[in-house]
Amino acid sequence: FTLTQPHSVSEFPGGTVTISCARSSGSIGTDYVQWLQQRPGSAPSTVIYNDDSRPSGVPGRFSGSVDSSSNSASLTISELHSDDEADYYCLSYDDNNRAVFGGGTQVTVL
């Protein structure tokens, strides 16, 4: 299966962005979805794991959800800050325990 994300989203500081991650086949609920943040020149880091859990240190402005009706997951960033500007990737696992990454979404803070 593939995970499809929008190429880019943009919003002003203080606003809210939502990034979708649509699964092409099989149920989105088959395995957990994780979200990674990658700032320019840096390694990725996890902002959401197990669909909607935040690692310690990740602000509550980041939230994750899964919608079975659209077979997709979403990452929402509220109260947008300039340092939220980054690429965001969703990932899940196939039946062979191999990770599948979405293509990534560039978030621009205007």
Binding site: Q38, A43, Y49, N96, N97, A99, F101
Partner: protein, 114 residues
């Protein structure tokens, strides 16, 4: 301090092989698996494979099966990625990450050029 420290950047020729290391610090490698991910210039993330830190069992992405070898050395707390028969398409930053992607190495840039 818990971290993954990767080897230095590599410049190599087409047809050659490259070996990248990933040393775990602050925890015992055998307690977690290690995943390898690569990222081409201005590209997304690509999952290459996984190795169990405990058993050494491996799971490779079909794209890399037969050309990539994952290994680990518990005595040095280090995992290794070897890529054979390199082409220019293998020019990328290679990352190791601990199970759950909760800890990442800093990345190793591999450049394949004649």
């Amino acid at each position: 301090q818990i971290q993954l420290l990767q080897s230095a950047h590599e410049l190599t020729r087409p047809g050659a092989s490259v070996r990248v290391s990933c040393k775990a610090s602050g925890y015992t490698l055998s307690t977690y698996g290690i995943t390898w991910v690569r990222q081409g210039a201005s590209q997304g993330l690509e999952w290459m494979g996984w190795i169990s830190g405990y058993t050494g069992n491996t799971n490779y992405a079909p794209t890399f099966q037969g050309r990539v070898t994952l290994s680990r050395d518990p005595s040095t707390n280090t995992a290794f990625l070897e890529v054979a028969r390199l082409t220019s398409d293998d020019t990328a930053v290679y990352y190791c990450a601990r199970d759950g992607f909760d800890l990442w190495g800093q990345g190793t840039r591999v450049t394949v050029s004649a």
